[in-house]
Amino acid sequence: MHETPQNGGYMVAAYVVTAVVLVGYWVRLWWRVQREGRETRDEGRV
């Protein structure tokens, strides 16, 4: 009888990698917006 392969670890890795890439980019964008907003405000004051 054909047995279902035990490869759940690869699925978990793919789900973790996807979350890390997308959440990581979201956090990076957040940080870039904060920095750019601050610098734009400071340039406006000079």
């Binding site: 392969p5 789900y15 996807t18 979350a19 890439v21 980019y25 917006v33």
Partner: protein, 236 residues
């Protein structure tokens, strides 16, 4: 285009909220894939990578097409907003390509027994990814805004021309990559629960794309506002 700090911040904030909603919905896709879809007997749990890999692949190909079209429109209309939209989309397209190019090998290893094959579909996809990384590098290297927009628009249009070859590569070349199960001339060859989950995952990826690109666009407006302020000081 005169960029305004408040306008840029408003758009970026809107984008951050939309993308946060999209990321929460992505957690829902994870639950759907585990609870709602059946276990594929021959591939095991690794088959469930399909619900992340395929929507990411569709999204990146769609986004690179959008970048190509927006770039062609920029060359025609010379509207800076199109250039900013194209460059914002290209960055997000590269992010989705990273998801596609990492989840693919994680599926391939248990199913094919190898992380990577120099197969037509995989190789063309990798070239498309490199082309848009080159697009972003080119934009970072050229300081004149007009030249930067024109040069990168040409690269984006060339990338767009590669998109149909990526999709059709499974028909044009001998390949071990699975054939399309949804985007093909005949009806989708998937059980309903798998098809529904796949389409929901694609819709969620589109929400995330809209959120990311809106944030990135707002960020671009902020950068323009800062440059305008700097130029104002130089002239003063």
């Amino acid at each position: 285009m005169i960029a305004d700090r408040a306008h840029g911040l408003r758009i970026a904030t809107r984008g951050r909220v939309i993308s946060a909603v999209g990321l929460v919905l992505l957690a829902g896709v994870y639950v759907l894939a585990q609870r709602y879809t059946p276990m594929e007997a021959s591939q095991g749990l690794a088959q469930k990578i399909f619900y992340l890999h395929v929507p990411a692949a569709w999204t990146s190909l769609l986004v690179f097409s959008v970048v190509g079209i927006a770039s062609a429109l920029y060359l025609w209309l010379r509207d800076e907003r199109l250039d900013l939209f194209a460059s914002s989309s290209a960055e997000v397209g590269v992010v989705f390509s990273i998801v596609m190019l990492t989840t693919g090998p994680l599926w391939a290893k248990p199913i094919w027994g190898a992380w990577w094959q120099w197969d037509a579909r995989l190789t063309l996809t990798l070239f498309l990814f490199f082309l848009f990384v080159g697009y972003l590098s080119l934009r970072a290297a050229v300081s004149d805004p007009g030249e930067r927009a024109r040069f990168s628009a040409v690269v984006a249009i060339l990338g767009f021309l590669l998109v149909p070859f990526v999709h059709l590569s499974v028909y044009l070349f001998r390949t071990i990559h699975p054939m399309p199960v949804v985007l093909k001339p005949s009806a989708p060859s998937l059980p309903d629960s798998m098809l529904r989950t796949l389409l929901i995952a694609f819709a969620v990826d589109l929400v995330i794309y809209i959120g990311f690109v809106t944030t990135r666009y707002g960020l671009g407006l902020l950068a323009q506002a800062r440059e305008a302020a700097l130029e104002g000081h130089d002239h003063a």
